[in-house]
């Protein structure tokens, strides 16, 4: 037992290290993720201002990624989300790997896929929230498969707990409760005591008998209630805490903090990328192509029947869920945060413990060797043509060294500032957070969380030593409140004595004299 635990821990460490080293290599080739910078910036902010701890702590989306990163923020060699992702996906790979080694040959060959899948590797190295999504989907569907067989309260409680925790990660995951409703409905037919026979026979007995019908429906609604209780209560606690901190139950939804966080992560990631607009503007069903590219694994599983109707029903449910999510909001959902659901279901099905391992036919073994390579190839194509900038950048960084103009500008701003004397910086930190993360702590900045932010924008000469401001070529120029305030001062004829320390196509660093 002890030996097994040691092997497990060592393997986990090895996989995680591999992912981490790969992420460093990718970063050296120009890969970056503004979400990682954003989380890093939150970690910096947490102790910077009075009440910063409480405000940053609670109004950070996604909170789990932030909390996890916070725990390992003492490691300064890399941004903590990259390390966190490496640990999480290292754990998943290790779990699947060790589990797969004990299984039949056709499952063993899927380990090739686990090790080389671009989606799994991306989750482990990208420094964003995809890793957590993948983990959530995988655990959720594994538990669901188990529940559909055991009908145990244990699995039901774990499902509820999982949703309760991840609802803090992404409120939208509450939708998975809806996915559970048909599962509970059908499971309740099998749970009925004292009735044996096939599904149709059971159903006819249950619906024709008053007492059985009553038990069936109370059991069905109770299952929903039990599983929904923890997530709903998590939200309740979250609302109560909001009320206590900010005086309003819905502060986290309409408060400054949340606007700031959503605006910060979304704009630089999506809105600077024209490619996505083209795809959306087409208004065709072409968004199905990326879905199809990542769905090969579960389509294969769909036909690899193994006698489980429940398994196939759950696979179909997963595909339909994914399709509806993307169709509803292509801008936000046509990326691996949603599409990794398909990968996770596939993994959960392949590595889910089947009771009987059937004797395999040679054809199936040969097919088993080919399938993982096909899957990997299709996923590579997905990354090549992804509408998501970060996913494309991942592919490009593997192929060749990259240089992104906008990101270089952000880095140059930061390095120019570092060369200057320490002082106060007036900046719209919702836009320039990436530049601020690696500044020395002796620099302070007047940003959204600073109590003097408004005053600093009115009187920069008193409150600031430096100003970072965007230029019209920058897509976020209209959103830059510091740029707006400077225009306002100019409009009222108030001159500001400044010196340009750095300037490029997108931004300027000014020194206030």
């Amino acid at each position: 037992m002890k030996k097994q635990s040691i092997i497990y821990a060592i393997c986990w460490l090895l996989f995680s290290s591999a992912y981490f080293l790969l992420s460093l290599w990718l970063q050296s080739r120009g890969f970056y993720n503004l979400e990682a910078y954003f989380i890093e910036y939150k970690t910096v902010l947490i102790s910077r201002y009075e009440e910063g701890f409480l405000r940053t702590f609670f109004f950070t989306k996604p909170i789990i990624l932030f909390l996890g990163s916070l725990l390992i923020s003492f490691i300064k060699q890399s941004q903590s989300t990259y390390i966190l992702n490496a640990i999480i996906i290292g754990g998943l790979t290790n779990h699947l790997f060790l589990k797969g080694l004990k299984r039949k040959l056709s499952i063993k060959v899927f380990l090739i896929y686990v090790l080389l899948s671009p989606i799994i590797i991306y989750s482990g190295v990208s420094g964003g929230s995809t890793a957590l999504y993948l983990i959530f989907y995988f655990v959720f569907f594994t538990l669901l498969f188990k529940y559909s067989k055991s009908y145990s309260v244990f699995h039901l409680t774990l499902l509820s707990l999982l949703l309760g925790v991840f609802v803090l990660f992404d409120l939208e995951l509450l939708k998975f409760l809806l996915l559970l409703i048909p599962v509970f409905f059908f499971v309740n037919f099998s749970k009925a005591k004292g009735i044996s026979g096939n599904f149709y026979y059971r159903a006819s007995i249950i619906f024709s008998n008053g007492s059985q019908r009553r038990k069936f429906f109370t059991g069905f609604f109770s299952s929903i209630f039990i599983v929904a209780f923890i997530p709903l209560m998590t939200i309740l606690i979250y609302l109560v805490i909001n009320k206590i901190f900010a005086g309003s139950f819905l502060y986290f939804m309409d408060g400054v903090g949340d606007q700031w966080s959503s605006y910060s992560t979304l704009y630089p990631l999506l809105y600077e990328d024209n490619y996505i607009w083209n795809v959306i503007a087409e208004n065709t069903r072409s968004f199905i192509i990326p879905l199809a590219l990542v769905s090969c694994l579960i389509v294969f599983n769909l036909f690899d029947f193994e006698g489980s109707v429940a398994k196939n029903a759950l696979i179909l449910l997963g595909i339909l869920y994914c399709f509806s999510e993307i169709a509803e909001n292509r801008i936000d959902n046509l990326n691996l945060n949603v599409l990794s659901l398909i990968t996770a279901i596939g993994l959960a099905v392949v590595f889910y413990n089947h009771d009987k391992e059937k004797v395999e036919k040679p054809f199936k073994i040969v097919l088993g060797f080919i399938i993982p390579f096909i899957l990997i190839f299709l996923e590579v194509i997905y990354f090549k043509y992804s509408v998501n900038y970060n996913e494309r950048l991942y592919y490009q960084s593997v192929i060749e060294k990259n240089d992104n103009e906008h990101f270089t500008s952000l880095k140059n701003l930061s390095s120019s500032l570092k060369d200057q004397e320490k002082g106060r910086v007036l900046v719209d930190d919702a836009i320039y957070f990436a530049s601020l993360t690696d500044l020395n702590s002796e620099f302070t900045w007047e940003g959204h969380f600073s109590p003097n932010f408004l005053a600093a924008m009115q009187l920069p000469q008193i409150y600031a030593d430096y100003i970072i401001v965007s230029k019209p070529a920058f897509l976020l120029y209209p959103n830059d409140v510091v740029a707006a305030s400077l225009r306002r001062l100019e409009h009222f004829g108030i001159s500001l004595d400044t010196e340009i320390l750095y300037e490029d196509k997108f931004s300027m660093l000014l020194k206030v004299k």
């Binding site: 145990s152 309260v153 606690i237």
Partner: protein, 634 residues
Amino acid sequence: MENREYYRKSLFQEKGKLSQKKIYRVEELEKSLNKSFLRIVLNYGYLSRRAWKNILLEEGIELYNFDFDNLVQIPKQEIIKENLHKFLDALAFPLVQTEDYLEIVIADPSDSININQVEGILGQKVDKFHVAEDMDILKALHITYGLDYLDKAVFGIYDSDRESCAIETFTKPQLIAIGLTLAVGVLFFYFFPINTAITLNLILNFLLFFSISFKFLLTLYGSKMETARKISKAELDAIDDDELPFYTILLPVFKESEVIHKLVWNLKNLDYPLEKLDIKLLIESDDAMTYNAVKEMDFPCVFEPLIIPYAQPKTKPKACNYGLYFSKGKYLTIYDAEDIPDNNQLKMVYALFKKISDQYVVVQCALNYFNKKENLLTRLFTLEYSYWFDYMLPGLDNLDVPIPLGGTSNHFRFDKLMELGGWDGFNVTEDADLGLRAYAKSYKVTVLDSTTLEEANNDFFNWIRQRSRWIKGYMQTYLVHMRNPIKLYKKIGLKGFFGFQFFIGGTFFTFLVYPILLTFLVFILFLHTGWLNYIVFWNDGDISQGLLDSISIFFPDWLVVVAIFNFTVGNLMMIYVNMIAVFRRRSYPLILYALVNPFYWLMHSISAYKGLIQLITKPFYWEKTNHGLTKGSK
């Protein structure tokens, strides 16, 4: 005095209406069980006690009435004490004995073997005999000659393992430690009032939260167990009745005449050969109500009454300990009089004992209630028991940490139970204590997914009495085992030690602390609402704010937030574990009642304070729970 001769055929066959076949069967059992004819007839369901009494009266026998207060031991008392079991079996009480005269009281005048046996043991001829009811003879024998056993039953643990006996509530070092802690606390309050108040509050909040979280995790861990059954149906079916060993069932009762009839019915439903059951109904000698109810039973019963001589403390463990000396089963269990065990429970336990190692000495079965829908209290009680026995104890079992045994349905290996010294007669939750003592001696306790249905307390005050005893018992158990924490740690290991702290210590701690923190919190939230200003309408000032300003020195805003988080999450966790427990048992209509759990906790707190006061004033006092109050049935 009787000089006539009586015949079995006349008494049992003609007047008692026992068929010849039955008489043969009884005679077979007489040989195989080595018990007297009358004992088998009366205790194995052949003839009711009232019917037997009527037969004797019809026969013109004048029944002997004992003067129990003035019974004296005969000169050959030592012989009787040595052979007490034989006299009990023969249902014969030596009334007067001199060198050349012996007068006895017997229950079956047709059984000359019994008289011969007495003569053989005492070495002199019986000159005169009286006839009395068997119960009276049993009582006379126990209260006159059972005192050595009684002494062992009361002081057994004290004599063999003084450190584990709850006879002393607080030891001197414990009193010094408590005193020192209080003194240091007062000093800190004097010199650093604000920081001390905040720290104390924070510690209490943290411990409360940790204790509840521990229970939640235990529940989760325990729920894993439901996915695997310990004994399969096939294993159960494979058991051959011939291989089954003797099984002792102890039934301690006190003033429970109402449930005796139900008891017989429930025992008859057990799927276990009756002749291999050794069922003892433990009746206190001063419990005239139960005693008379058994005497007057008008239908055959399947248990053997055992009269416990009077002694303080008048506790259930003392009665059970006394019963041990008259038990003969390989395994032994305890049921309450109103209990309805799963009919295959004994066989399941037997199969499990066969399957697991000898290290396991106790199997605890789940308890639940048959009258769960009677009122709100019984519903809440059912919720609590469901999670306790279905999830918490299996959780402890899975973690391999000490399991505090439940009140009944704990099945022992008899020899190991004797080795452990039985129960501590001075501990009011002797079962929980025994589980820990077993663990400390490197034995193990496990749980089994078989249920015994009990009667849920349906009366508020009765519930408080019962619960205060349980919580007092947990305090006693905690104090006993924490007399030497290092020794305890060495005995039960780190996991066991923490399990003990949070499961035994944490249980009463949370109930004691809960209302204090809640009162503070509610008061502060009340002040935040500003309603106090409306109540104190004659004052124009902002009284709420004034008070808040003063209190916030000791209870700053961040601490309020911590407390709110603590209470919300803590209560929700407890609500949830209650919900899933009844969900598992498919008692779906009870799920919503789990939302009332926070109020149920307040009831626990009331009991906890009552228990705490009793721990100091009357530590061994056994708060009697009245049974038989329910109108419900299974």
